[in-house]
């Protein structure tokens, strides 16, 4: 066991896979000598050489498109896109090819590749550095979309992602890259994709969150506890496939559900979860499912983030409203 941050845990997962599987390669902008702008790939080039861990030219479509070519021909590339907002230049490769090549080739080719990037707000960043694009990728058929919320999960999910034959979008909550520390096993272990985790059991209302919003939700749950409200917290972990079973079970139990996520609320993971709540637990609903999410505006720069970023207090406000509906 070692104390790890999320950055360290992902670095460790990459290290383990690079070490045991020579078909794993890691590349992207500044991931080599620099070790990535967040240092997630730190030390890996030194250890595994420039053929396996390297800087690419500055072109996201190229990074993703070439990774697909590698995945089709025997490698298992793990590519970094530098920020959430810079996934969009690669959108066509992801939507038109990465997600579709298995289907197009009728299963002749699998697509064992991981596209990883830091996402989310709350770090006083410039424009395009605070987006939460999970809904865009989850809407595209053929991808799996994964978001860890802790160092342990980050490691276990990344191992699974690299070992998957399906293409994975791996979103890393940059806001808690180093803020959350945890004892994590140094051994290899994996966490299955597509399974949510009940972080905390409760009876009055279900909170569904993921990534950096787990920590905020936990703080809100403390406030709720003081107010005598028992909250169940689900960490989605996979946005697609989404774990209907766990979500449905919980809502059937509590009758109330709130989705907490950073993305713009319209046409989002929140919308989808309200859909699922209705499909899986309609007759158990005692209050309208609610979403506590980002507005349908550009994520503001640092000074505006206080209005945009979801605080524990705002989550608590919604919990109270829902329980008292």
């Amino acid at each position: 066991m070692s104390v790890m941050t999320i950055v360290k845990a992902i670095n460790n997962a990459l290290d383990i896979k690079l070490n045991e599987d020579s078909s794993v390669v890691v590349y992207g902008e500044d991931v080599g000598v620099e070790g990535g702008v967040f240092r997630v790939t730190e030390g890996l080039q030194k250890k595994y050489g420039v053929e396996r861990v390297f800087d690419s030219p500055l072109a996201e479509s190229g990074i993703v498109g070439t990774a697909l070519g590698m995945a089709l021909s025997g490698l298992r590339p793990v590519v970094e896109l530098q920020f959430d907002g810079f996934t969009y230049p690669a959108f066509n490769q992801i939507a038109s090819n990465v997600s579709r090549m298995q289907n197009r080739s009728r299963g002749k080719y699998t697509v064992p590749m991981v596209i990883r990037f830091p996402y989310g707000g709350g770090v006083n960043a410039l424009e395009h550095h605070s987006d939460s694009p999970e809904a865009l990728f989850a809407h595209l058929p053929g991808l799996k979309v994964v978001v860890p919320s802790s160092p342990h999960d980050a490691k276990g999910l990344m191992i699974s992602a690299i070992e998957s034959e399906d293409p994975i979008i791996f979103m890393e909550p940059k806001r808690i890259y180093r803020a959350v520390k945890q004892e994590v096993s140094d051994e290899k272990f994996s966490i299955p994709l597509g399974k949510a985790k009940v972080v905390q059991e409760g009876t009055d209302v279900t909170l569904i969150a993921f990534g950096a919003m787990i920590r905020e939700s936990q703080k809100a749950i403390e406030m709720a506890k003081d107010a005598g409200i028992s909250v169940e917290l689900i960490d989605l972990r996979s946005i697609y496939p989404i774990d209907r079973q766990t979500v449905g079970d919980s809502i059937r139990k509590t009758g109330r559900v709130i989705i907490v996520a950073e993305a713009h609320e319209s046409f989002s993971v929140g919308s989808e979860l309200i859909g699922i709540a209705n499909e899986e637990a309609f007759l158990y609903l005692e209050a309208p499912p609610r979403r506590v999410m980002g507005y349908d505006t550009v994520v503001p720069l640092a000074q505006g983030e206080k209005y945009y970023i979801i605080s524990p207090e705002r989550i608590f406000y919604e919990i109270e409203k829902t329980v008292n509906f």
Partner: protein, 369 residues
């Protein structure tokens, strides 16, 4: 200059000087004896037959489509010399990353006309080329495929294999950002990828001059520090020489190169297209005179190696092709699983739920009757 330690043809036919590699002229006379590729008569005859087969298959496909027996089709008319010359130089060990107008190359890899027909009959099993290896499916989103080729090139280099990748794009496709990015990555990584631009002078209705102001398309290689050459795409021998050189170059670890195959799309863009809207009959007629099959036939006749009875051969091919078409038409029915089963290696529960729901609907529908 860039093209210095390269095979001679790259120096002699420098695209910066807007030169084009030709080996025979329009009449089939050899105009560049020193570099004329070594090919025995049988190979030449065989090449002609392959071109003739592709031509016949195209004609048949167009006619099936006209009969309403097949959906929109993308003919290859006029581009056969490129395809067959490439096919003769791409080895089993090499990779092919096609766009959507490379039928002759696919056939030479072992793809069958039945598969081609299945694809144009709206069945994914046709376009996936499951039965030949190292051949990616047809790529429709223009430009994207070049990145895949570059990535495969990286795998080859990484694994120190002696293999090359051959990939294709149209003249219009050179405007897409992915074209430039892919050539640039390939240049930086020095991977064994042979990029071909099939410059058939049109992107649907748009002529090359509206596509770019560069003096030719081969010259774009300069932007990525890789060698480029413009080749007469209607001259089978020039194309053969280009691919032979390219293959040797790539297999010796020299990195990527760019070939512009200058040709003309003799037919419509697709069977839904009407070229008379955007180009003149005279232009089409002029290019029909230098049809790559005609030029090769003229050469063969001059060399006295012409022994082909075209009518008879066409009849033979037609029967064979028709049999394949009928077999494609009679392919087993498309199943609901064909929609769902290939999305993931293991179908997620959520997708199973959707499939089940559809089946429930089907049984409701059945019961209602």
């Amino acid at each position: 200059m860039i093209q210095d330690d390269l095979p001679a043809i790259f120096r002699d036919f420098n695209p910066l000087e807007n030169r084009m590699l030709r080996v025979i002229d329009d009449e089939g006379n050899i105009i560049n004896k020193e570099i004329f590729p070594q090919l025995d008569d049988d190979s030449i005859i065989d090449a002609y037959k392959q071109m003739f087969y592709e031509r016949t298959a195209d004609e048949m496909a167009i006619s099936y489509q006209r009969q309403g027996r097949m959906y929109t089709f993308t003919p290859n008319l006029g581009q056969e010399a490129i395809h067959i010359a490439a096919g003769m130089n791409i080895r089993k060990e090499d990779w092919l990353v096609p766009a959507f107008r490379e039928m002759g190359i696919l056939l030479s890899r072992g793809v069958t006309m039945k598969e081609m027909f299945l694809f144009y009959l709206g069945n994914e099993h046709g376009g996936s080329f499951k039965n030949v290896s190292k051949t990616l499916p047809i790529a429709i989103s223009i430009g994207t495929q070049l990145h895949h080729a570059t990535g495969i090139g990286y795998s080859i280099k990484y694994k120190k294999k002696e293999e090359a990748v051959f990939t294709f794009i149209g003249d219009g496709g050179t405007s897409e950002g992915d074209f430039s990015e892919a050539l640039n990555f390939a240049g930086v990584w020095q991977v064994p990828v042979v990029f071909t631009i099939q410059n058939n002078q049109y992107a649907i209705s748009v002529p090359v001059k509206s596509q770019t102001k560069s003096i030719n398309l081969a010259v774009k290689s300069v932007a990525f520090g890789i060698p480029g050459i413009k080749v007469d795409g209607n001259d089978f021998f020039a194309m053969y020489l280009a691919y032979k050189t390219a293959s040797e170059y790539a297999l010796s670890g020299n990195g990527p190169m760019l070939i512009e195959a200058f040709t003309y799309r003799l037919g419509a863009h697709t069977t839904s297209d009407d070229p008379s809207k955007y180009r003149k009959k005279e232009e089409e007629e002029k290019w029909a005179l230098v049809d790559p099959l005609l030029r090769l036939e003229r050469y063969m006749k001059k060399m006295n190696i012409w022994n082909i009875d075209k009518d008879k051969l066409k009849e033979e091919y037609k029967q064979e092709i028709d049999a394949q078409f009928v077999s494609a038409e009679n392919e087993k029915a498309y199943k609901i699983g064909d929609v769902f089963d290939y999305m993931y290696t293991d179908m997620p529960e959520d997708l199973m739920r959707q499939k089940d729901a559809y089946e429930q609907y089907l049984s409701w529908k059945e019961n209602r009757k």
